[in-house]
């Protein structure tokens, strides 16, 4: 065999090899695709966002319903004696804590004392995801939700240090004894000792075609009071969505936008 012939055969066979490999790959992918799919009823968006209409949250009972709904649905343990051990997915705080840097000595009293409803901001550029060494927290490419994969979390708490909003809580203790067994949601897991948890924008409800629990609770409150709901949920990239409609009409603020995280939770006063 001369060199020319050898090179020809070698070239052809490697081409065939690559071709065969890609054919085998497409066959396998086809099989997977026909076996697994998302629920056709699921709610989808390019980037989920939430608008908190503060004119609807004046008294504690207005927002407590939303917090309770969230914490009940996700088996979040009840408060602890040690504030450091508290687990919270959704919580109220004052203006100066929620929007540091914007405080003003002569700020209207009613704004100063307003209980701002805080939750994970599901940032466009989430620092918690950047620091996670195991990719336990990640941003879903499909809809921008900053998710937690509890199976992967090793409890290093880098994400808690990374999050500028304090939206993450660490399970210093086994949460099970602190969940009222009669009230727990048996459709959703609890967490275990040594993992970090936070709001997941109710990914499990979205997958079934339901709105997040807090949004649903806010709607119930609104129906009772005969007003519009205080929490509005929708697709930020869809110009016709309800959140975009509100944002185009009213003045909104976000928490610490100067950090460049691109929070997806908007507050209108």
């Amino acid at each position: 065999m001369d060199r020319r012939k050898f090179l020809k055969i070698a070239g052809m066979s490697s081409l065939l090899g690559i071709g065969g490999f890609s054919v085998a790959n497409t066959v396998r992918n086809d099989l997977e695709a026909s076996q697994i799919k998302s629920n056709p009823a699921a709610l989808t968006a390019k980037r989920w966002a939430m608008v908190v209409d503060m004119s609807k949250f004046k008294a504690p009972e207005d927002y407590q319903k939303c917090i309770d709904a969230c914490h009940r649905v996700h088996n979040v343990p009840a408060g602890s004696d040690n504030p450091k051990h508290e687990i919270k997915w959704m919580w109220p705080d004052t203006y100066e804590h929620a929007f540091p840097g914007n405080e003003d000595e002569y700020l209207a009293e009613k704004v100063k004392d307003m209980p701002f409803l805080l939750l994970c901001n599901h940032c466009d550029n989430p620092p918690c995801v950047r620091v996670c060494p195991t990719k336990a927290t990640f941003k879903r490419e499909s809809d921008g939700i900053v998710m937690m994969d509890m199976h992967r979390c090793i409890g290093c708490r880098f994400c808690m240090a990374g999050c500028p909003y304090g939206a993450r809580s660490f399970n210093y203790k086994d949460p099970r004894p602190h969940i009222n067994e009669s009230k727990q949601n048996r459709e959703f897991p609890t967490r275990m000792k040594g993992v970090v948890e936070k709001c997941t924008l109710c990914y499990e409800r979205l997958a079934k075609g339901l709105e997040p629990a807090c949004v649903e609770a806010a709607k119930e409150v609104a129906v009772k009071k005969g007003t519009t709901p205080g929490l509005i949920f929708g697709d930020l990239e869809d110009p016709k969505s309800e959140v975009r409609k509100i944002l185009s009409e009213r003045f909104s603020i976000r928490r610490k936008p100067e950090l460049g995280t691109g929070p997806s939770v908007y507050y209108v006063l």
Partner: protein, 134 residues
């Protein structure tokens, strides 16, 4: 043989010690696990619908890999529905689907896991179905 008697007694004691675990535990150690699939939820189904997601043989061998794959698909990719070879659609969820039929965790999961000495951490977070004391 010097001290023949002592050596033989010593050997006998040694052999006795070595085989004592087998003698003491007897049958129990070798009792085969016997997972039960006769939960009320399964018995309620008509005969021809008493089928798992895949064949019994496949599930026995591959359930752990399947569950791992399912959790990644659901949590990370947001895909929740699995179409089995028979064409039936199933929600990929341990807590909300598997255990709805197999409501006997102690007799279904633990039976083999204890025998094989594996300790999956599923139930640290996932809530096991309530079982009636028998």
């Amino acid at each position: 043989m010097y001290n023949g008697g002592k050596i033989i007694i010593g050997i006998l004691i040694f052999v006795g010690l070595v085989i004592s675990p087998f003698l003491l535990t007897g049958e129990k150690a070798t009792a085969k696990p016997d997972p039960k699939v006769d939960t009320p939820e399964i018995m309620k189904l008509p005969e021809n619908e008493r089928k798992c997601v895949e064949s019994k043989d496949y599930m026995k061998r591959e359930h752990m890999k399947m569950l791992n794959e399912w959790r990644d698909l659901v949590v990370r990719d947001g895909l929740t529905i699995y179409t089995s070879k028979s064409g039936k659609e199933h929600t990929m969820s341990l807590q909300n689907n598997c255990m709805k039929c197999h409501s006997n965790k102690t007799k279904f999961c633990d039976e083999c896991h204890n025998y094989a000495g594996v300790k999956p951490y599923c139930w640290d977070c996932h809530i096991a179905p309530k079982e009636k004391e028998t």
